[in-house]
């Protein structure tokens, strides 16, 4: 089903707002469970959610550019988020090919899969290049928090999109 221009414009607005909120949350540096270094991968949740609900009919080039924008905004190595976003996009395509995704529950399963792929790839990328402190407990907490943020955003965006 093709989206109308008005619908696409509205979705673009949601996308920009969602991006700005993600950027704000990324910089907020909240500590969870009183443990230092605990922070969800907000941008992984962001890309997983917008791909799951198919916001603004994103294609590979747009996803890649979004990744580059995210890299510049959070002072990352150029291409890190672009790589994560492109791989998550590819996984989304493959999962759509092998799974039937229509209902709310099926979309949630897709979302969880995409978040896990993105989260693990981001951990590998940032651990290899960046300055993250590897600790198994914070890894588990961050994974849980990223998933939780993704599920909450998914429900909010689905509600708004309706």
């Amino acid at each position: 089903m093709k989206k109308s221009i008005a619908e696409l414009r509205r979705e673009l607005l949601y996308l920009i707002l969602f991006l700005l909120i993600t950027l704000f949350l990324t910089h907020l540096n909240l500590e969870f469970f009183g443990i230092h270094d605990t922070s969800p991968e907000y941008f992984v949740s962001f890309i997983a959610v917008i791909l799951t609900i198919n916001l603004y009919r994103l294609d590979l080039i747009k996803v890649f550019l979004l990744g580059l924008i995210a890299d510049i905004l959070v002072f990352n190595l150029l291409g890190s988020y672009a790589l994560i976003f492109v791989v998550v996009f590819g996984c989304n395509y493959l999962l759509h090919r092998i799974m039937s995704i229509g209902s709310n529950q099926q979309q949630l399963i897709l979302l969880l899969c995409l978040i896990q792929v993105g989260f693990h790839l981001s951990y590998v990328t940032f651990f290899y290049h960046g300055d993250i402190n590897y600790n198994f407990l914070t890894y588990l907490i961050n994974n849980f928090l990223t998933t939780a943020v993704g599920i909450i955003s998914f429900h909010i965006l689905r509600y708004i999109k309706r």
């Binding site: 089903m1 950027l23 704000f24 990324t26 910089h27 907020l28 540096n29 230092h36 270094d37 922070s39 991968e41 907000y42 941008f43 009919r57 294609d59 590979l60 890649f64 990744g67 580059l68 890299d71 510049i72 905004l73 959070v74 002072f75 990352n76 190595l77 150029l78 291409g79 890190s80 672009a82 790589l83 492109v86 791989v87 996009f89 590819g90 395509y93 759509h96 090919r97 039937s100 229509g102 981001s122 990328t125 940032f126 651990f127 290049h129 960046g130 300055d131 993250i132 402190n133 590897y134 600790n135 914070t138 961050n142």
Partner: protein
């Protein structure tokens, strides 16, 4: 139904794109990462974006600033008097220490003159404030509010009253970025306060520093203080770094791994001092 779903699921909006494009974009991303790492392609644009993000930082810091202002406004007189008393006591102690130091300084100058040793180069100290946030997406990013216009130079040592905390790695006109001593990219020539042995200390992305290979015949003990050796000509000699926390044997080899707890980490601070070279 299946046909309809298949029609909706396009990998690309442009049907001329293929799966090969996905692989190409992955390679492009990896190449960009490599090039950015090597040539710092995006540093200028990132700094411009950082300046644009100033309102965001202000918005993030606003609740903390407001809380501090309110707390300062309602601070009781009794608490202020108590604080004043403690500070007076500290001033007296420091005065006493200063008297001793003046004596040592004079003695040192006299000895240097008689032994014809060159006077140590004096360092200019710049005090700076850490701008929040200190951590973005699990990555420690510490930005300080002094830059090249304040004479901050690339590679300058960053410390506080407890000891060394890092090094300046990026300098802008008004802001700088520091790498904490616990970063895996950080290495420093160090010495113990007792044994006077030189070795290379490195960060490992954990809250600790380490000496990767230290001979088992060495004289280092748990609790020894580690200081900068000054051999690298980046850091002045004698800045405190940390304390030996653990000595771990490495298999059957003739070396131990030494774990050092830094005296201070930037996550605990709001202000730092920079040694201008």
């Amino acid at each position: 139904m299946a046909q309809q779903r298949k029609n909706q699921l396009n990998l690309f909006n442009n049907p001329s794109f293929t799966f090969l494009s996905l692989i190409l974009f992955v390679i492009l991303s990896l190449s960009l990462m490599g090039l950015d790492k090597k040539y710092n392609l995006s540093s200028q644009i990132k700094y411009q974006v950082e300046l644009l993000k100033s309102p965001l930082y202000e918005a993030i810091n606003a609740p903390v600033d407001l809380k501090n202002r309110i707390a300062n406004y309602f601070i009781s007189q009794e608490q202020l008097l108590h604080e004043n008393e403690a500070l007076n006591e500290k001033i007296m102690q420091l005065d006493f220490e200063l008297q001793k130091l003046n004596f040592i300084k004079e003695e040192n100058t006299h000895l240097r003159q008689s032994l014809k040793i060159q006077e140590l180069k004096k360092n200019h100290i710049i005090t700076a404030e850490i701008i929040h946030p200190k951590q973005v997406n699990n990555k420690v990013i510490i930005t300080i509010n002094k830059g090249s216009s304040d004479n901050v130079k690339l590679g300058s040592a960053v410390l506080n009253n407890l000891g060394l905390i890092g090094q300046i790695v990026e300098v802008n006109e008004t802001k700088s970025m520091m790498m904490p001593a616990t970063s895996n990219k950080f290495q420093i020539s160090a010495v113990t306060d007792k044994a006077k042995e030189n070795f290379i200390l490195s960060g490992n992305n954990s809250p600790f520093l380490e000496i990767k290979r230290y001979p088992i015949s060495g004289k280092i003990n748990i609790g020894d203080q580690i200081l900068t050796s000054g051999l690298d000509h980046f850091y002045p000699r004698g800045i405190k770094i940390g304390k030996v926390e653990e000595i771990l044997p490495i298999g059957d080899s003739q070396y131990n791994r030494i774990i050092i707890r830094p005296f201070s980490t930037p996550e605990q601070l709001s202000h730092v001092s920079i040694i201008a070279k």
